[in-house]
């Protein structure tokens, strides 16, 4: 097994995860459709997972904490997507739109 550690430094993974997270933030702030906002949130969650796994594998490989955490992140992300899409469908049925700038009943 070729060692990854000597070939790819840890900071490359951190940079990748930082870029991915920033793109996700941009998507959340600039997208209009609620489903697309959810997709951007998925990108951010994945950036966090990369970060956790990279640190776990590089610094504490015998503990698996980061890997277990990444599994939980994926689980919660699945729950979040299911629930959020149900809410989006409900809002669409009641208001006829899924654009977050047109859902402004709480805006005062």
């Amino acid at each position: 097994m070729e060692s990854v550690a000597q070939k790819v430094p840890l900071e490359h993974f951190i940079v990748l995860s930082g870029i991915l997270f920033s793109i996700g933030v941009f998507g959340v702030l600039s997208r209009r459709n609620a489903v697309l906002v959810l997709m951007s949130v998925e990108l951010m969650l994945n950036a966090v997972s990369i970060n956790l796994v990279a640190f776990a594998v590089y610094t504490a490989p015998s503990l698996f904490v980061g890997i277990i955490f990444a599994i939980f992140v994926i689980t919660i992300a699945a729950a979040e997507v299911g629930l959020a899409l149900a809410v989006v469908l409900r809002v669409f049925r009641n208001r006829g739109t899924a654009n977050i700038d047109e859902i402004d009943t709480l805006k005062w």
């Binding site: 790819v8 940079v15 997709m39 951007s40």
Partner: protein, 165 residues
């Protein structure tokens, strides 16, 4: 070799992510999301956590993106295209993302990263399973409870009510 594989996967992840946030067609955005998340699975393979790569492909490639596509279909996004954001909103989003990115890059640049961390030990399915069902058994059960409640709740929320069209 490993570095080339990493660069390739990173390019797929970042280009896919850019596609998700920039493409106007919502269905194409969902397809770009699949590409990006499969790139993340490649990164997991590179980190020798094959179990996570497998989970990533199954959950994201198989379940989450299909759910998202169904939601796009059911909400009848008008001609499947999004209007461009207003210029002030776009400027704000770009500024926030760039500020965050600059913060991350400064952090990476200023930190001294560990050198010669040695071999990465591939983590087998057995080890993860043992850890998950011994040390992390209680969080695991809580996570399964959360998933169950969330999905039942999703069904209840999405259900057609009496008198609704």
């Amino acid at each position: 070799m490993t570095q080339i594989f990493f660069d390739l996967m990173a390019a797929i992840v970042i280009l896919g992510a850019l596609g998700v946030v920039l493409v106007r067609s919502t269905v194409y955005a969902a397809l770009f999301l699949i590409a990006s998340l499969m790139g993340v699975a490649g990164i997991y393979v590179l980190l020798s956590t094959e179990f996570l790569a497998l989970v990533q492909v199954l959950i994201y490639g198989g379940a989450v993106t299909v759910l998202l596509l169904f939601a796009l279909m059911l909400t009848k996004v008008r001609d499947l295209r999004e209007r461009a954001p207003e210029p002030p909103q776009l400027a704000g989003a770009i500024a926030a993302a760039l500020a965050l990115l600059a913060g991350f890059m400064t952090m990476v640049y200023k930190t001294t990263w560990p050198r010669n961390v040695g071999q990465i030990t591939p983590i087998s399915f057995n080890q993860i399973g043992t850890a998950l069902f011994n040390r992390w058994a209680v969080p695991f059960e809580i996570a399964s409870g959360v998933l169950l409640v969330a999905l039942v709740g999703a069904i209840v929320i999405a259900m057609q009510e009496e008198g609704e069209r």
